[in-house]
């Protein structure tokens, strides 16, 4: 259970990234955050693992203010996937996947079996991939390893910032399908920031549409489609086209 309460994030220049932001996310929910560039969606994500802190308000994780928690320990409880993938080029696939278990001090045997287990979860043959380096993988494979890395220490929450932005459309569809399967199997709480509106509609339990640091609408995909609160919602999600497709 995650709650954002009266969050503002402003800068010394007087500009703000997020304004008057309230949100609660249920355990096991997949929430997609969409909106135009610079709308504050990545800031919302980064406030949760304290890569940045809000100016006002508080964020509760299971009722506990995350400001009271050690940011390092907090981050280790949350998976983090970024668009540039960020696999470490000097580490093998196995080492990349088990980075967090490693800093948590898991024994080698446990790390190894975890890496195997995760690769098998998405049908990548461990014997083939464990000892490869990131540059010996395709873009899609790299993204997959990036997701597995976020899952490795079995975190309760996974933060994804444009996780499939850098791959071709075909691979992206496949990765989205895999994520959907993973989510229904593992019941993790997932926050997914994306530019790809189709992706949001395909995967999310609820979609949060933001503009200029504020929430425009929060609702299930069909709610956004059927009862947009302002015309901008329909425009942004391309409601006409989307309804025609149904």
């Amino acid at each position: 259970m995650i709650e954002y309460e009266k969050i503002n994030k402003s800068y010394q220049t007087g500009s703000y990234a997020v304004l008057d932001f309230n949100l609660s996310i249920a355990q096991g929910e997949l929430l997609a955050i969409i909106g135009p560039s610079g709308c504050g969606k990545t800031t919302v994500l980064k406030m949760l693992n304290r890569l940045t802190d809000p100016t006002d308000g508080r964020i509760l994780l299971h009722g506990q203010d995350i400001r009271a928690l050690d940011p390092i320990a907090l981050r280790r409880r949350m998976g983090y996937v970024i668009q540039q993938v960020g696999l470490f080029p000097h580490m093998t696939v196995a080492e990349n996947i088990t980075v967090v278990p490693d800093i948590l001090g898991w024994p080698a045997v446990k790390k190894h079996s975890r890496a195997i287990e995760l690769l098998e979860l998405i049908d990548m043959n461990p014997a083939d991939f464990l000892h490869r380096y990131p540059h010996q993988l395709s873009g899609g494979q790299q993204q997959r390893i990036g997701v597995l890395r976020a899952l490795a220490a079995d975190p309760e929450v996974i933060l994804m910032d444009e996780p499939f932005g850098a791959v071709d459309p075909l691979t992206r569809t496949k990765l989205q399908q895999e994520l959907k399967t993973l989510h229904s199997r593992l019941h993790k709480t997932i926050l997914l920031v994306t530019h790809d509106i189709d992706e949001a509609f395909r995967l999310a339990d609820r979609i949060l549409l933001m503009r200029d640091g504020r929430i425009v609408q929060l609702g299930t995909p069909s709610e956004l489609l059927e009862s947009p609160v302002v015309p901008f919602v329909s425009e942004y999600i391309g409601a006409t086209r989307r309804k025609a497709c149904l």
Partner: protein, 205 residues
């Protein structure tokens, strides 16, 4: 000419270079890491070490003479100062060149500062740092011959003797081993760099 004499001069030369480059590496790499986190101070210190570099080495020996006297110690001190700049520059540049997405990912996964440095920044910067140390070593091997002027010994002794006595063989006996030393060190560094490179990465820095 005495082969034993050449060999002991060679050893002394090696000692001068190893001591100064060794100390220089420890100092410059530490300073480089420190300055990586303090970009404002970085410009200042790069200026300072860069200025040191421009003092002619013979003049530096001369300046040290009244304070540090003659022998191994002042020679190593001067050579040490000369070794700093290339290593410091290489360390700073290589650390800065590490893709910010990687440090961001590391931070987001819950690595602390030290873990990011040790597990991400340093391993990725290592090939660059190594090339800085290689460059310093090449300079120092050649400059160390001048240390003979302040009684530090080494292959410079033979070269100086050769110049005073118009003895070309003595000059060659001093300079050829220095060339050989530089060549071998270069090979060793290249080998090390190859071993450290990421397997299969075509042109990874």
């Amino acid at each position: 000419m005495n082969a034993g004499l050449i060999f002991s001069a060679f050893l002394r030369h090696l000692e001068l270079c190893a001591l100064s480059v060794g100390l220089g590496t420890v100092t410059a790499v530490s300073l480089g890491i420190y300055l990586y986190y303090r970009p404002r101070a970085a410009a200042f210190w790069l200026g300072v070490t860069g200025a040191l570099q421009t003092i002619p080495s013979l003049a530096l020996y001369g300046l040290f003479l009244p304070i540090l006297g003659i022998g191994l110690f002042p020679a190593v001190t001067a050579l040490f100062l000369y070794s700093l700049t290339p290593i410091l520059r290489a360390t700073l540049v290589s650390l800065k060149e590490v893709d910010p997405a990687l440090t961001e990912a590391a931070r987001g996964m819950g690595m602390d500062r030290w873990q990011i440095l040790r597990r991400v920044l340093l391993p990725l910067a290592l090939p660059g740092i190594l090339s800085g140390i290689r460059m310093s070593t090449m300079y120092i091997i050649s400059w160390a011959t001048l240390a003979a002027f302040i009684g530090a010994g080494g292959l410079g002794d033979l070269v100086l003797g050769g110049i005073y006595n118009y003895d070309i063989r003595l000059i060659l006996a001093g300079s050829l081993p220095a060339v050989l030393l530089a060549f071998l060190c270069g090979l060793a560094f290249d080998r090390l760099a190859r071993r450290l490179s990421i397997p299969g990465a075509a042109n990874h820095e």
